[in-house]
Amino acid sequence: MNVEEILKAVNYLLQTFGNVELETAKTWLEVREYAEALKAEAEAAIEEQENGE
């Protein structure tokens, strides 16, 4: 990662992380489902890349 990318991510974090406390607390089930959905999205992108090559 270069400095610009890190700064972009940190800016995102600063803008959104404050809201985490204000949001309703999350359950482990929600974390698991969210992470599983993200994994499926990433796997689909990998498959797409492989098919495109």
Binding site: I6, L13, A25, V31, Y34, L38, A42
Partner: protein
């Protein structure tokens, strides 16, 4: 001699701690902390999704990081279920052997899995980006460990893992 006395005191403190019943109020506090750790982990997944969608991290790395959070969430679900069972089964304080069981599952299902997430982020060299998320989870995991009488060793383990 001084070192021997310190060791003896530490061993005594651990044994004394494990020999005491586990207060119901502490079990309930642990459940609350578990929820806070879950909220921090959720923010970690959200950050990963943004980094992936903004093409800051690759799909392969995203998948690996998601795996780490899935594994941690499964551990969190198991710990919550055990805490719920202990609260339900023991009207007042849980016996010392229950405390020992909870210490064991906290180590295997929360602490070690959180350390694995840190390791994963370190290998991908993206730990600085996750700094706030890791700090948030770290603080609550240490508070939980404090209730179990293993706060200091947990703090050393996590800080050592982040620094390495």
């Amino acid at each position: 001699m001084k070192r021997f006395l310190i060791c003896l005191t530490l061993i005594y403190a651990v044994l004394f701690n494990l020999a005491c019943p586990f207060k119901k109020a502490d079990l309930e506090k642990m459940k609350d902390y578990s929820r806070r750790v879950a909220t921090g982990a959720h923010a970690g997944v959200e950050l990963t999704r943004t980094l992936f969608r903004e093409k800051v991290i690759s799909a392969e790395l995203t998948s690996d990081i998601a795996d780490g959070f899935i594994y941690l969430a499964q551990g969190g679900q198991f710990v919550d279920a055990q805490l719920e069972r202990a609260i339900k089964n023991y009207g007042k304080d849980a016996p010392p052997d229950i405390k020992k069981q909870i210490v064991d599952i906290f180590r295997s299902d929360i602490l070690n899995r959180f350390l694995a997430v840190i390791e994963q982020l370190k290998l991908a060299r993206v730990t600085p980006v996750y700094y706030a998320v890791l700090e948030s989870i770290k603080t609550t995991v240490i508070l939980t460990a404090g209730l179990l009488g293993i706060g200091q060793e947990t703090k050393i383990q996590i800080e050592g893992a982040i620094k390495q």
